[in-house]
Symmetry: C2
Subunit: 512 residues, 2 copies
């Protein structure tokens, strides 16, 4: 036994307990607080549990539980045949949390917890965080879908009853082997079904081994960014384009170079002029947001660029299923024979975005690194969603639903076109909408764009500005960025009719 | 009209169609292939649809559909009052996919698709991909759980019937507003419930605003890596430790520095000696894999280190709920008053790993950057899993299940301890297991470790080598890395009894 140190007498009567709450937990907190703030200093002897119980009118059991927890966490120690003492601890920083503001039992302190931190003085200043300052997504539009929110399919038509039954069926008796850690590339059956779908319906020849399941298209793009870019390298993106892709690239520290889009799609001559660039991101089926379909000539030029540069093309086919005459167009990846195209597909525009289910179709030589990277990023996707989507596809619901969704989007497009207010000053003609879930209309000037969007908002109609899809610092005149981007699939025809009537009124009124 | 160019006659009779398959699609493929490989050169006039139909004994409708698709994709063009011609296209690369190996209709070609790519000659050589060569996770152990797989809780006891009902209930009539793009930080109700749980049951004072939902602990760690590290910076990790964390850090290009673990946890003196290091990753409740609980003194030293360095601590509390005497220990984050600790929690060890649901509790000043980064990484987690877990918690199932799981793990631990073979040469004593889901036992040498694991495998028992948890290039002698890591919670008691009996036989036999 070491010599017993000089000990301050400890008077527990200062401890006040709330009799309506857990007493053992409160005693633990009170003693822990006193050790951390120094009122109970190292080496102090604590009363024996029976004495403490008597002093505080507690059951001895409550005291023993509190002492046990303090002992387990190292605040106190016991000496055989002697008693219980406060542990020797390093000199405590005054900033250690004493638990004064812990919400235990009382629930009162959540507003003040951590309020000693001045968030403005503690901002982190390294590269990724700085890059997020200027490259983040705006908060998602909240509330139920309304006209003309972009990016939402007609998910009011999704067969939720079928989905609910499949979910219940899966979970009632899941294969136990599937509940641990799964294949980072995704569930084999789902990958097989996607490959079959792409071969049969989309003209894209691929095998299940080339498919990597992702948490929506965004994770597919993010993985590409993490794996194919190094800080300082250049990636070419369409301008205007999908900012969520550009921002994911920028987060890696890469330089995001906008390349113009004309009525044949990405300007490949401009792309050729971009130096130190071996990666490009395109939306060939239905350019986001202009709606242009990339011409065959441009597709071939783009593939030739990738071969020449020993580079890669990310093809985001986010709404390729929506083609209103004939079959969907064959993707760029179907022309790629030298393994240059990384194809991004998503279920978000067929089912609904909150499903967070998408996939990559990869050149064979990239499959392993993407699987490995995904394992480090998230391990894999939640098992139920993958298994239920596989059932949904295997039972034919998916193909039926695509047809249903295409028909619905076409009908909603027609309603928009039929009701679209004509002759509003500053708004260009509504282009023919052959594909996709949205249409972009040019507007004369940025000021006019803002005015039209503000007026629409005043009558409850949501419209995105085309100018928001341009990269900052684009060198075309700002007024040429102006336009309206209208998602026409999110709400039923009746709601579209109401919305266009409101637009005609508020815009027509402003004109006079 | 431009002058009609000289045209080669085109004889369609070389096109052979399989009458059992879609004829229009085959004709499209055949013509597309001929355009791409040059047999049908630019400017060639195609027969009128009725002539083509007659030549191939097809319906005219099939020809029109094929022509329409070729026209939509830009392979052919029509001239008013004249006819249909092959488009002018850029000189084609011989490597463009002609569709010869497309799986359309025939389904025969999937094995040969893309076989022109020699994967060995096309490896990508940039930093992230190179880093994945040496820093990836081994493939997950497949098949149903067996003794003594590490990382699996007793998910045979999960109330799948409850989960199935909650899933069905959610999906039968989901809130439509929740099906678009959600909050990247996660569903508000789930975040609120987690904050309440952590305050009441884990002694961690936090608010819902500090919680960011993740796809399991791995995504939490990966986000930390992406946001808090730049290439070349140093991150300190426990050695031996959780390799999946170290690999996620290494992927960013950071230098991963192992710090020794003794019987009080991370060696803080060694940590202080690591230069240019402002981030450390620890498992204080139950060190992975040694099982050591970090002492209070070390916790305070670690917090002091973070303050002095203006740095961060990632606390991975992967199995903190499993404490076999008294309440779970308060996490390190409960002592942190200066906003230095990023707490990682997971549902994977209470429910099951394939759920991929976890969370971060963040210092307030980090919440926004983490939400933004997560939005770019995956947007957010799948809605159903979040909503159902919120119901599971709100209805009390979660707390009940924790108690059930703790009891089961304790009983399985006891079965392992009772049956563990004694006196096997080279195996150290089985330590007291006060917490967690696994136990680590020292072994004399690396050779002995390999022999014991091989023998275990020969009788169907899965054991991990402790040596696998060390960083490559660690400077302690290799034989000191040797040991056995046994997960004891994955299978019921009866299976554990069988496994330890098999071990006793095969190891005992080998000794004699």
């Amino acid at each position: 036994m070491s010599e017993r140190p000089f000990t301050l007498p400890f008077d527990p009567t200062g401890i006040v307990l709330d009799r309506r709450q857990g007493l053992s937990r409160q005693l633990y907190q009170a003693l822990r607080m006193r050790v951390l703030d120094g009122r109970l200093s190292s080496g102090t002897r604590l009363p024996a549990s029976r004495d403490m119980a008597a002093a505080l009118s507690l059951s001895r059991n409550s005291v023993v539980r509190a002492y046990d927890q303090l002992y387990a966490e190292g605040y106190i120690e016991s000496r055989v045949g002697d008693g219980t003492y406060v542990s020797q601890l390093p000199k405590l920083s005054t900033k250690v949390s004493t638990g004064l503001s812990l919400g235990f039992s009382t629930g009162l302190s959540t507003k003040t917890a951590n309020n000693t931190v001045d968030s403005s003085s503690k901002l982190i200043h390294n590269g990724p965080c700085n890059r997020l300052e200027s490259h983040h997504l705006p908060p998602p539009k909240s509330g139920p879908p309304r006209a003309f929110r972009v990016g939402l399919p007609a998910f009011d038509l999704f067969p939720f009853d079928v989905w609910a039954k499949l979910q219940a069926g899966f979970w009632r008796n899941p294969d136990r082997a599937a509940l641990g850690y799964g294949d980072p590339a995704g569930e084999p059956q789902l990958r097989q079904l996607i490959a079959t779908y792409l071969r049969r319906s989309r003209g894209l020849s691929c095998t299940a081994e080339q498919i990597v399941i992702t948490s929506g298209a965004q994770q597919a793009i993010s993985l590409c960014a993490q794996l194919l870019l190094e800080p300082g390298e250049v990636v070419a993106v369409e301008n205007p384009g999908y900012r969520a892709a550009g921002n994911a690239f920028a987060l890696t520290g890469a330089k995001v170079q906008g390349v113009a889009v004309d009525d044949e799609g990405l300007d490949c001559a401009a792309l050729n002029a971009v130096e130190h660039c071996r990666l490009s991101y395109v939306t060939p089926s239905h350019q986001y947001p202009t709606g242009v379909t990339m011409s065959l000539a441009r597709r071939l030029q783009l593939l030739a660029w990738a071969e020449r540069k020993d580079g890669w093309i990310i093809e985001d086919d986010y709404d390729g299923e929506y083609r209103y005459s004939g079959d969907p167009l064959a993707p760029l990846a179907a022309l790629d024979r030298s393994g240059r195209v990384l194809y991004v597909g998503t279920f978000g525009k067929i089912a609904f975005p909150a499903l967070r289910l998408g996939y990559l179709v990869l050149p064979r030589q990239l499959v392993q690194v993407f699987s490995r990277c995904r394992a480090l990023a998230v391990r894999h996707s939640e098992i139920g969603t993958q298994a239920v989507m596989a059932q949904f596809m295997a039972q034919g619901h998916f193909q039926r639903h695509i047809r249903r969704m295409r028909k619905a989007a076409l009908s909603r497009r027609n309603t928009l076109v039929a009701g679209w207010p004509q002759g509003i000053s500053g708004i260009g003609p509504l282009p023919h909408v052959a594909a996709g879930l949205h249409v972009a209309v040019r507007v004369d000037s940025l000021a006019r764009e803002r005015a039209l969007i503000g007026q629409a908002e005043s009558v409850g109609v949501e419209i995105n500005g085309l100018s928001d899809f341009w990269l900052p610092g684009s060198d075309t005149p700002e007024d040429e960025h102006a336009g309206l981007v209208l998602g026409f699939a999110a709400v039923p025809e009746a709601a579209i009719e109401v919305a266009v009537r409101h637009l005609a009124e508020v815009w027509g009124h402003s004109k006079s």
